[in-house]
């Protein structure tokens, strides 16, 4: 009943190894099965866009990748490391919060609602994790943070508090904050859905730039244009399963399944 789509046979030539490997992951909230045997591979340096109707489990899958949610079965491997669990024989055991925190440093996440720390300025938001937990000296972290703010195009707003920034500016600070930990992988959960239409472009530009620089990214978004232009792989999810996955042109222009077609109709 569950459909597992092997992603290795997608049209993309994948010379690099998989940075992220999701194998038959299951997740329920009570009796509600949200992820049913989801498998997915994300080659290093590529962009994967997750599409799917509301409630299909996209956010949940993303949150499992940095263990903000526990999983009930299967495994998630990032850069060769099992996420959130230790394997002992045939079972896997959840790690301690400290070990999990250690793993999360390599995985950046950007949220729909920005989630900046409101009591810190833009610069302080970015500097907090590298200095507080990464052991980076303060001056060095500040220089780096200013570089990052410059890269996302808001160098002039370093001293502003989140409440003094527009949504688009806040989201760019959030991206800079995640990048400050030098992650190997970036997760984006509908990063532009809470933005006014005229601000969406700025954030997408930053993400495009990041993709160009070779960052491995998994992006949940309804921006089909972004998926077409930037993604190396598009994954369509529905009802907790991967319905279809492959090169953007295949999935977006020649979808094989009716569910995918219906969804693409609805977002156009």
């Amino acid at each position: 009943m569950s459909i597992t789509v092997p992603t290795t046979d997608s049209a993309t030539p994948t010379p690099t190894r998989s940075l992220v490997e999701i194998r038959r992951v299951r997740k329920s909230f009570g009796a509600h099965e949200v992820l049913r045997d989801v498998s997915l591979a994300v080659p290093e340096g590529t962009v994967t866009v997750l599409l799917g109707p509301s409630g299909s489990g996209k956010s949940t899958l993303l949150r499992c990748i940095n263990h903000l949610e526990t999983i009930d079965g299967g495994r998630i491997i990032v850069d060769g490391e099992l996420i959130g669990y230790r394997q002992v024989g045939h079972t896997i055991h959840e790690m301690t919060p400290k070990q999990i925190a250690r793993q999360r440093r390599d995985i950046g996440m950007v949220f729909q609602r920005f989630n900046l720390f409101p009591h810190m300025t833009a610069l302080e938001n970015i500097v907090e994790a590298p200095t507080g937990i990464g052991g980076v000296p303060r001056t060095q972290a500040r220089t780096r943070a200013k570089d990052l703010l410059d890269r996302v195009g808001i160098a002039d707003f370093a001293a502003h508090y989140p409440a003094q920034l527009s949504g688009g500016q806040q989201q760019r600070v959030a991206i800079a904050r995640a990048l400050a930990m030098d992650p190997k992988l970036m997760l984006f959960d509908e990063p532009t859905s809470a933005l006014d239409p005229e601000l969406v472009g700025d954030v997408l530009d930053v993400m495009r730039e990041l993709a160009k620089e070779g960052m491995t990214m998994i992006v949940v978004t309804h921006e089909i244009g972004f998926a077409r232009g930037v993604a190396d792989q598009v994954v369509f999810m529905d009802g907790g399963v991967v319905v279809e996955a492959g090169h953007p042109e295949e999935v977006l222009d020649r979808p094989q399944r009716q569910r995918t077609r219906n969804f693409l109709e609805s977002v156009r």
């Binding site: 903000l68 793993q103 996440m109 949220f111 720390f117 409101p118 009591h119 507080g132 508090y161 904050r177």
Partner: protein
């Protein structure tokens, strides 16, 4: 794009726009009937009741003040004499010490209780709930007296392994629990119950997304609590905690029932000798008023500190306002805005 530049530009722009609108509008002639526009004087509504009510209240206040000040039964010289009596000052000092210790310790305890209450461990949260239930549900006065009588309940206090004979340290209760310690315990434990509810409300007020953002950056739960959650919760916690501190300061007077020599006890001790009860109550009240007034200053600055980022611009502090007012008054080179105003006219 400096602020000043933009302000000027906007002012000019608006001026032009208005002028053009008036000229171009169809009712341009009707809107500009004659040149007397400048002479029209706007008279605000007269409010006679404001004056009458103010006069009545002032009269009542004056009558009361007069009756107090001319009362032959109040010995004002005694008030002046005892205001700085060494015993009174000692009492003031003890009141401050008890208030500070009780507030600090109870706040630490309150954070622990609030964390227990919010924990997913049902035993911890139930115990925390029961603690609050008991200490909030019984009168503070009764708790104080009970702590004073602790020696009757437990003759000896010991530290060891529960339910075994292993004892590391033991002491006679009455030696350890002096009236001072009993009073401190009573106030602290009672306050912790109230404060824990305030802390809990503060923690709950922080958006769930803040945990997730912190965790996704690799912060541990403890680090997240310390650097992300607590500073935001403080914004909600500080104002009611200011009230609690003021209550605490006044509640120390209840310790007179177990003869702790804080200011109210000192005042009653003195008045039992010289029979000037009212005068000494006034002395104590003046000190309480002074101390509670002083307490509101740190509260103001703490609220400001933890309010960072919530409003777009913090208003200047009274000190900054005062400096600015003085700077404006200081004679010197004519300030720029004035010359501009002249040039506009």
């Amino acid at each position: 794009m400096t602020l000043q530049g933009r302000g000027e530009g906007e002012g000019e722009g608006r001026g032009h726009g208005l002028g053009q609108g008036l000229l171009a509008g169809p009712s341009a002639n009707a809107a500009a009937p004659d040149a007397t526009d400048g002479d029209v004087v706007a008279i605000p509504l007269r409010r006679p009741w404001r004056w009458i009510s103010a006069a009545v209240v002032l009269l009542l206040v004056a009558a009361f003040a007069f009756s107090v000040l001319t009362n032959p039964n109040i010995d004002f010289a005694a008030i002046g004499e005892f205001l700085f009596d060494p015993r009174i000052l000692e009492g003031v000092w003890l009141t401050v010490v008890i208030t500070v210790i009780a507030m600090v310790v109870s706040t630490v305890l309150a954070i622990v209780i609030a964390a227990m209450r919010l924990s997913s461990n049902p035993v911890l949260s139930t115990v925390a709930w029961c603690y609050v239930w008991v200490f909030r549900g019984t009168p503070l006065l009764v708790q104080i007296v009970l702590w004073g009588y602790l020696g009757l309940l437990y003759a000896k206090l010991s530290v060891g392994v529960p339910f075994t004979d292993v004892v590391f340290w033991q002491v006679n209760t009455n030696e350890l629990i002096s009236a001072f310690v009993a009073g401190l315990l009573a106030l602290t434990l009672n306050q912790a119950a109230y404060s824990s509810e305030i802390v809990r409300a503060g923690m709950v007020s922080v958006d769930e997304g803040q945990h997730e953002a912190a965790y996704s950056l690799g912060m541990s739960p403890l680090y997240t609590f310390r650097r992300v959650l607590l500073p935001q919760a403080m914004r909600v916690i500080i104002p009611p905690m200011g009230n609690e501190t003021i209550s605490m300061l006044k509640n120390t007077s209840l310790l007179s029932v177990i003869a702790v020599l804080e200011i109210y006890t000192q005042a009653t001790v003195i008045s039992s000798q010289n029979l000037k009860q009212v005068e000494l109550l006034i002395v104590a009240s003046l000190w309480y008023l002074f101390m509670t007034s002083v307490l509101s200053i740190p509260q103001y600055y703490l609220e400001r500190r933890y309010g960072r980022g919530t409003s777009r611009n913090l208003p200047p502090t009274p000190l900054q306002r005062m400096r600015r007012a003085f700077a404006a008054r200081r004679p010197g080179p004519a300030p720029a805005p004035e010359t501009k105003a002249v040039s506009v006219v």
